[in-house]
Symmetry: C2
Subunit: 339 residues, 2 copies
């Protein structure tokens, strides 16, 4: 009797928000392994704002996901059968693959996972694997933040934002976070050491930033877009840098989305606005991981993981991201961590 | 009997387009020179899109011009009386001063003008003084254009645009210009060597760019903004550079102006969007002038000057810029060139 695997399939291209029938879960027999293949058992899956981008038919940094294909995501798991020399049974692997509990693969998109001493598998995968390098590259290489800079970060209690703010503090910046609840703001200032946090559900972001950044903004790290980006652009200092990491507020749009109304400040304040996609930096991940793990072990980087249970709930879980319903790095536990 | 000078005064802050009473021309006696002052007689005045920016009460790269002040502009002229050691009688001076035929000044904003061999005063001032360095810095230092790049430039028949395209050709780029008449497009391709020109009054710019830039755009040089910028952003190649030199289509706006609708491509295509103000580069102008003059003398840089006559007509002349009514670098002849 053959083993059964479950896969989420892309059922219908969403025109706005992701709906309950955007993806469908199907069970299928697991095929026999061929030479050069292995059977991957998923442990954790990362849910990321960019998942929605892959569902659109926009011209993006990846080919649009065709309707009828398996949904894509970042996973970590265990090799449970193998006819592939680089992925022996019992080893861990991570990569961009599909929303599935079992996957037969030739290894494309996967790489062996190297454990980081003193960091749990969930933390290493959820916080370090993608969010960590994203925060690091975005703040330091794209944003070129330096000691004394005033840094603003949006979605500051999110997986990337919380790390951006803390890395900025480690580098001697003044850090202001924008987040969507009192509890999140309190976490940022009291636990993570942010200098200030603005709750966008309770006050006007532009007014809040005027108060908390009286000398202007040097680096604006954008995860959201829309009015937050406009508020930042309004208060940028001359020669400031605006890092565009995400524009989650626009990914569910059904029509054309206006760019920032204060776009003219790109000239008036001589700004650099730069976007990036962390996949472009994959070759350097080991370096970032080492540095980030060091800060984690020394307690300089705190983080939290919002873990949802089971592959079945993955679609509902993803929808949390676009309403700010998650509290920390959003992940799904698909299977048990091996002993 | 004292000599009389005429000055344009800022009479009323415009809410949209510049109007006939935005500035008023007044005659005043010329005051006696004090020690450290000289009397400047204007020869040419440059009219620039940014003049409208100075009239707004936006937070820009300069203090907003107060209502009641003399209107500011770039001038070249002759020192006709002097009690200033650096500006002897008979010498030429250039700088940011006021829309006037005679000016008593302590020299602030002025510098002595160094003639460029083989280049007339009008060409040196009109083409090289500001437009030349703007094109040079924008294309090569901000845009980092390199051989083989596809470069798009808007307002391509304007003072800056025409130079951008030709400097790009000198550097081995493929160049596509966007301009507003058949005659301008013909000038670009037949006289200036542009590879293609798109007449935005006759065809959709996005469609035109798709045809003329089938391999995408590497450097987009923006003088206009609005739909032209959106068309460029739509077709940018990965890691492309978008130079924001001007956003003339937005300077007369009476309300908030949406930024580019394709702003998301900053991430999807990993773009750098960078604005600049040429005044920041003033210390390096001599270097740019030398290089630009060399290209002019060798016939590699062609240009044309749209000369309006007389200080009286300066306000009407300025309005031409915002309708594309000028044909070449817009200048006003205020007084005669000395023998």
């Amino acid at each position: 009797m053959s083993q059964v695997a479950r896969h989420w399939y892309f059922n219908k291209r969403p025109t706005g928000e992701i709906e309950h029938d955007t993806l469908v879960l199907r069970s299928e027999p697991v095929p026999e392994l061929q030479d050069g293949e292995f059977l991957f058992r998923s442990i954790y899956m990362s849910l990321d704002a960019t998942n929605r981008v892959w569902m659109s038919d926009w011209d993006t940094y990846m080919e649009p996901l065709p309707v009828g294909a398996r949904m894509l995501g970042f996973l970590i798991g265990e090799v449970v059968k193998s006819r592939h020399p680089d992925f022996p049974v019992g080893s861990l692997a991570t990569g961009l693959s599909t929303w599935s509990d079992y996957i037969v693969t030739d290894g494309e998109g996967f790489s062996p996972f190297v454990s980081l001493q003193g960091v749990s598998l969930a933390d290493a995968f959820g916080t370090l694997a993608v969010a960590g390098p994203t925060a690091y590259v975005g703040l330091l290489e794209i944003g070129k933040a330096k000691p004394g800079d005033t840094v603003v970060v949006t979605a500051a209690a999110g997986a990337v934002g919380a790390l951006v703010g803390q890395i900025a503090k480690i580098h001697g910046c003044r850090v202001i976070g924008i987040a969507g609840s009192r509890e999140k703001c309190q976490w940022l200032t009291e636990d993570l050491g942010f200098d200030a946090a603005i709750n966008y559900r309770e006050e006007d972001v532009l007014e809040g930033l005027r108060r908390e950044a009286p000398d202007g903004i040097d680096v604006h790290f954008e995860n959201v877009g829309g009015e937050f980006l406009d508020a930042g652009l309004t208060l940028m200092n001359n020669y400031g840098r605006v890092v565009i990491c995400g524009l989650i507020s626009t990914y569910n749009a059904t029509g054309p989305v206006p760019g920032p109304y204060m776009f003219r400040n790109v000239i008036m304040k001589r700004l650099v606005i730069e976007g990036f996609v962390i996949l472009d930096y994959a070759a350097h991940f080991a370096t970032y991981h080492e540095k980030l793990a060091e800060w984690m072990r020394s307690g300089q980087l705190k983080y939290r993981i919002h873990m949802e249970e089971g592959l079945d709930g993955a679609l509902d879980a993803l929808r949390l991201l676009y309403t700010g319903g998650n509290n920390g790095k959003l992940m799904v536990r698909i299977g048990a961590v091996p002993n």
